[in-house]
Symmetry: C2
C-alpha cells in the first residue's frame, strides 16, 4: 500500500510558531522532504523544523525548485519532485513536505500536491501561520477590523493589479517586497499611501526592521509591507 | 510593576493547531481572559485552550463583547473590558487574552490592544493559524499561487466592495458567510463565479461541509467561501 503525502506549513521562521499538529506529523513521518533553490543548499524550512523535532534518525530528501522563470525548467522541477516523491510513497513510506509559512499562501507545494493527487496518492494539508500574520503581530497592528477588507498581493505581480488593490482596499499586504522596494515605494507614493505603510523585514534574523518606510534604508530579503489607509495621515 | 498583556491567537478550532508559542504563553500567564457574546456563555476559544493546557489552577476572566451593532454599546463593552484588564495588570499579573484564529484577522482583540497601549501597558501579540488557511487546507486548495493576488472580505461588508473584490482578484475569501449565504450566492451568480466557489463550513464540528454550493443546502454558522477564478468554467 502506498504511503500518504503530507504538506506541512511550518510557520514564518520562529520555531515556536510550529503547531502541535505539524510537530506530530513530522515526528510520525518516515521521510521529510524540503524545498531548496539549488542542490545541496540548506533549507530554511528544515532549519525551523530541526529546532523542535528530532531529525537524527529521520530520512530527509531535498526537492529542487530553481528560481528559473522559464516555464520549461519549472515543469521539469515539478516532474522531478513528483517522481522522487512517488518512488518513496510507492515503497509504503509516508512523506511530509515542509513549507515556510502557510501551505495555501504562495507555496510551491500546492502545485505538487495537485500533481500527486492526479497520480492517485492520498494527501493531507496541515496549515501554518502565514508570514503576514506574524508580521502584523510584530507590528502590533490589525490586518483587518470590523467589516474592512484585506488584499494580499505579490510584488512580483503586475503593477496594474497592485494599484487596483491600493485603490479599492482599506488594508493591503505587499508580499515578496524584498527585491521590489523601489517599485513598492513608487506605487505607494503615487497612491498617497507612503505614510500608511509599515515595513516588516527579516523578523528574528539579521537586519530585523519593523517601522515606516525610510529614505535610503536597505531592507532584507524577507520583507512584507502592510498598508493601512486609516494610518495615512 | 504592571503585568504584561498578551493577545494570543488559538487557531480556528482544532486544538492541535495551537502553536508552541501560544501554549507556552498560556501556561506562563497568571490570568486567561476570553471573549464571550453574553455573560456566562462558554467561550469557544477557551474550549480550544482547555484541551491542550491545564487550566485547573488558572484564573479565567470573561470579557463581554455583545453582538450589538450600536456604537454606544460597543464602546461601552470595550471600556468595561479595558477596565477589567487594567485592574488585573495593575496588580502585577500577566494576562493572556485568547482569540479564535489569528489575532490580526477580524479579531475584537486588536481594538482592545490599542486602548491598552494608549493606557500605557506593554503588549505582545502571538499570531495564530487563520480560519481561511485551515479551510483551504481542508479543501486541499491553494489560496494564492504564483503571482496571483488574494482578497479577503467580510460578508457583513458592503456588497459594492464584495463585487469589486470579485471583479479584480483571482482568488477571493468570503469571511463570516454563515448568515449571509443567500447574498453570497447571489453575488457569485451575478459575477458568473458560482461554480468557482468552495464552501467550507463548521470544520471539526456538527454539520461539517467542504464542497460546492448546493441548491437548498443549509450551512453552519462558521462558514467561509473560497472563490478561485481558475475553477470557473
Amino acid at each position: 500500500m502506498a504511503g500518504r503525502l503530507y504538506g506541512v506549513g511550518v510557520g514564518p521562521g520562529d520555531p515556536d510558531l510550529l503547531t502541535l499538529k505539524a510537530i506530530g506529523c513530522l515526528e510520525a513521518a518516515d521521510v521529510i522532504a524540503y524545498p531548496v533553490k539549488t542542490p545541496g543548499e540548506k533549507g530554511t524550512a528544515l532549519d525551523i523544523v530541526r529546532q523542535r523535532t528530532d531529525l537524527s534518525r529521520k530520512e530527509t530528501v531535498e526537492l529542487v525548485f530553481g528560481m528559473n522563470s522559464e516555464t520549461k525548467a519549472r515543469v521539469c522541477d515539478y516532474g522531478n519532485a513528483a517522481a522522487k516523491l512517488s518512488s518513496i510513497l510507492d515503497g509504503g513510506k509516508n512523506v511530509a513536505v515542509i513549507t515556510l509559512g502557510d501551505v495555501s499562501i504562495y507555496s510551491t507545494y500546492m502545485r505538487l500536491n495537485a500533481e500527486m493527487e492526479a497520480r492517485g496518492y492520498e494527501t493531507t494539508i496541515i496549515p501554518g501561520v502565514p508570514s503576514f500574520c506574524s508580521g502584523a503581530a510584530e507590528a502590533r497592528m490589525p490586518l483587518t477590523i470590523g467589516e474592512e477588507g484585506l488584499a494580499v498581493v505579490s510584488m512580483n505581480g503586475e503593477p496594474k493589479e497592485i494599484r487596483a488593490a491600493m485603490d479599492s482596499f482599506d488594508n493591503i499586504v505587499l508580499m515578496k517586497a524584498g527585491r521590489h522596494m523601489d517599485l513598492a515605494v513608487r506605487l505607494l507614493d503615487d497612491a498617497g499611501l507612503k505614510k500608511a505603510a509599515t515595513v516588516i523585514s527579516n523578523i528574528g534574523m539579521e537586519g530585523q526592521y519593523v517601522g515606516p518606510i525610510e529614505e535610503g534604508r536597505q531592507y532584507g530579503y524577507f520583507t512584507t509591507v502592510i498598508v493601512k489607509k486609516g494610518r495615512a495621515d
